[in-house]
Symmetry: C2
Subunit: 112 residues, 2 copies
Amino acid sequence: MAEQVCHKADILAIHDAMDVLNGKWKISILSSMCYYERRRFSDLSNDMVGISNKQLSKELKELEQNKLIKRTVLATQPVTVQYSLTDYGWTLQGIIHDLAKWGSSHRRVIMG
Amino acid sequence: MAEQVCHKADILAIHDAMDVLNGKWKISILSSMCYYERRRFSDLSNDMVGISNKQLSKELKELEQNKLIKRTVLATQPVTVQYSLTDYGWTLQGIIHDLAKWGSSHRRVIMG
């Protein structure tokens, strides 16, 4: 029974993580900022094949609300908006790299 | 430009991974089998707070189609159906543990 309680907490923790990272886009978006450090909206839109601008805006807003990314407005003409990971967002770096590795081996598995 | 091509592949790989693992339930379901090894439908239903039976069936079917879990029918009276990770599903173990760690620290961040 003690073992059961212990695993419940682990499963709950994963549920909490996936509550923030859910959907097929969020981790991809975070990964783009992880690989390139600073990213404009148009860069992200190019990185995510198949995402609409509306969906991308929504995902960025949610990631910002969860303090995983920050939005910086540069005083250029016209203004430039850059997105980057917060220190907190960087705590996902290891998971992002592992998922990229797993995803690329998964591609090989499903391709043949 | 070479750098751009390289990261595109990483981001695509993450997208491929999240295509299989998307939704807030799949990784939690996999984690339950990872922690307990064998799990009945009713066990999983207890582990996932808030999931409906219909949703759980759907998620299990998709995970089975993607060869991450296997379904074993035992010849008991009445029959027992057990779910467990395939060897391929076990390749996600490291990511599952890291997500549990991240999720439990995330809970502390949002709670305080």
